[in-house]
């Protein structure tokens, strides 16, 4: 098999990993104004992702690096073309990341509130814009004969892009709320379940719209993997409905797992709809970037395949171990006890 095709899927898996993992981080951050009614509950919410947010964020760096190494042309066209959205994502990720570290450094409620807002906005902006970016990759953008993007920011803010953007925002928010429900107790746990119920209907509507729209888009282009696109879309939809049902039935773990499955298959739906393109051109199909004309040489791909084969399973193993170590709920008592110790 041509290794470039394998790498299309490895890069896809890395982005799936990123969206599932940092997705609920974004959701937790966005849920902060709704679930964090006092300082203790805000700390409960933030500490659910305390030990893991940075390791979740590393997935985007690895995904980006592998995209660069396996598909230099795709990386170059995408990053120079989607300049302003990526700039906003970068600024948001910076603001969010440092806020986790800074908010607890001072015992001053105004100081903490400022960083709470930065966490929320810093989570919402990437949650929306990643959706917009992926949608535009799938839908196609104007690209010239030199493989350069010729549109502007407004080219990207089209109906499909925005619809998918809102979908990812809602999906990540819901997934994050499930995670808070799974990892906390008391009022926060209760509020998280209630918020999950409220989010169910809008999320289902947007997700269904995205799935149907994407299937039509893929069908219109004669996508070779149309059957897989449809299958993934259906699985994503079923998983989403199941997660809603589990949340209503007070089954936190299953709701979260179903939420993760939803995101996995939602991203796969989009990724498979793209195949065998990597960035279709709306200017002229001859200018489109495909798996074969955007990839690295077989030698580079071969070296990278060995690295991925050896190290990805290792990464999954030690990251799973981390999740196992930090599996306990963040209870109100833990936080209150921690505050006492800190004051002492």
């Amino acid at each position: 098999m041509d290794l470039a095709y394998l790498w299309f899927f490895i890069v896809g898996v890395l982005f799936v990993g990123y969206f599932v993992l940092d997705g609920f981080d974004f959701g937790v951050g966005m849920s902060l104004p709704f679930l964090g009614k006092d300082e203790v509950s805000r700390r409960q919410v933030i500490n659910t992702i305390g030990p893991i947010w940075d390791l979740n964020e590393t997935w985007v760096i690895v995904a980006g690096a592998c995209l660069f190494a396996a598909f230099p042309e795709w990386y170059a066209t995408l990053f120079s073309g989607f300049y302003l959205p990526l700039l906003l994502i970068l600024l948001a990720l910076i603001a969010r990341g440092v806020s986790f570290e800074y908010r607890h450094q001072r015992d001053d409620l105004r100081w903490k509130r400022r960083f709470d807002w930065m966490i929320t906005i810093g989570s919402a902006v990437p949650a929306l814009l990643w959706g917009v970016a992926v949608a535009n990759i799938v839908q196609g953008v104007p690209i010239d004969a030199d493989k350069n993007f010729t549109g502007s920011l407004f080219t990207l803010l089209n109906p499909y892009g925005l619809w998918v953007g809102v979908t990812t925002l809602l999906l990540f928010l819901l997934h994050g709320v499930y995670f808070v429900g799974l990892k906390t107790d008391g009022q926060v746990h209760h509020d998280a379940q209630a918020l999950g119920k409220k989010l169910a209907i809008p999320t289902v509507i947007f997700a269904a719209g995205t799935v149907v729209w994407t299937i039509f888009l893929a069908a219109g282009r004669g996508a070779p993997l149309l059957w897989a696109v449809i299958a993934c879309g259906v699985i994503a939809a079923v998983a989403l409905l199941l997660s809603v049902w589990f949340n209503m039935a007070d089954r936190d773990g299953k709701a979260f797992a179903a939420g993760a499955v939803t995101i996995v298959f939602a991203v796969l739906t989009l990724w498979l709809a793209l195949f065998p393109y990597v960035m279709p051109s709306t200017t002229d199909d001859a200018f489109s970037l495909t798996i074969s004309n955007a990839s690295s040489t077989p030698m580079t791909l071969q070296i990278m395949s060995w690295a991925a084969l050896i190290f990805l399973p290792l990464v999954l193993a030690y990251q799973a171990w981390t999740y196992w170590i930090f599996r306990k709920r963040i209870t109100r008592t833990t936080i209150e006890k921690a505050e006492l110790t800190a004051a002492h």
Binding site: R43, I46, N47, G50, P51, I52, D54, L55, E57, T58, I61, V62, A65, C66, F68, A69, A70, F71, P72, E73, Y75, A76, T77, L78, F79, S80, G81, L84, L86, L87, L90, L91, L93, I94, A95, G97, V98, E101, H104, Q105, K147, N148, F149, T150, S296, T297, M299, T300, I303, M304, A307, A308, V315, Y318, T322, I325, F326, A338, T341, A342
Partner: protein
Amino acid sequence: MDFLDPLLLARWQFGLTTLYHFIFVPLTLGMSLFVAIFQTVWHRTGDVKWLHLTRFFGKIFLINFAMGIVTGIVQEFQFGMNWSSYSRFVGDVFGAPLAFEGLMAFFFEATFIGLWIFGWNKLPRRIHLLTIWMTVVGTWLSAYFILAANAFMQNPKGYQMSASGHRAEMADFWQVLTNPVALTQFPHTISAALMFSAGVVIAASAWHLARKQNIEMLRPALKFGLWAMIIGFVAVFLSGDQLGLVMVQTQPMKMAAAEAMFNSACGANASFSIFSIGTPDGTGEVWSLRVPYVLAFLSTHDFNGCVEGINDLNQLYTTQLFPQFADQVNGNFAPVLWVTYWAFRWMMGFGLLSTAIAAAGLWVTRKNAKRPVAGWMWRLAVWQAPLALLGILVGWIFTEMGRQPWIVFGLMLTQDGVSPNVPGWTVLISLIAFTAIYAILAVVEFGLIVKTVKEGPQPLPGPDDPDPSDVPVDQTPSTVY
């Protein structure tokens, strides 16, 4: 000058964001090792002061770590955003070390750092100690891959040009990884990082010792920092010497530019200038203070060796080696001379100065010293941290500015690497945004570090307190946010 020139703006952004990123990187590289050593000493001896030092410097290390990650993402993204032509040209070779860094090192360090911070009372002590050593391995490995990628820009190896000539393709990955520039740059970078981290340890300890606080704990820390500075300097010096030899071989123009030396010279004439005034157009020299033979020795390890000058190299490059690029650079393949000349000197100057202060510090704090350390000496010791950092930053300015006008030496000019479709105003927005957010963060970050330093380590337990070796671990909050 055109202020909306995308090339100029993209270069400013790269320089700014890279230097800023490299404030946090060396502290991560060095401090992780120091913290691991402190924790190991505590683990071995059970002496609680080393536990408190682990926590104290661990806190400073962590404040930095988040900044290191978020500013690192910017680095990876901007190759594609601002330098898409470069990315297309080198991606097949240059991308692989970056991908390896992600798969092998970066995942690793981010996971283990999380386990270290949050694992204090969740993991068995030995496993917890292992996590900080794993973090050290991860950060150092990460540094190696990034330096290997950078080495390809300084001295492309292990590649061949594609049939159409539009990109560099991988020929031998082992050669990419064992590029002599990477092999020498790595120990140079690591030991410089140790110097800066030692400077931070010295500064933090001196601040308290000057006020006669936490003496029992911070005096050993101070000694540790002073020795680490000296050892770091010896390693910087030896690796820098090797790096110089490699540079003369691979980028002779950079060495000529470091010396602002226009004409080739041998032996006594290949002198090292300590100070020099050039003509305004940068093509000649008005006056300089010189030490004979030194440059010849630095460049070739032979007092009678010969060093090529800028004019002769330009002649060679224009007519023989790179005639296809000669018109684009107007026949001048030299970097901006005043930058390389002074950056080279400031790099060495800052390094020597911090080492001299450290040596003096060891002398005045020796065991049988008769006089107490004077107040001004403590204040001087606090400056150890910024001095060593400045040395590192000008060192990178030298390395990267000295590479100009090339983005990949001999293969691609910097001006050809920039994204052709990104308008100047877009880069300007991004430059302003990064400058603003980085400036704000610098203020907050600096304030937090100063605050953490001033708070000092947890005080040692008194004689009536419970057994210290049990208490701290169980009392550590598992939630730090």
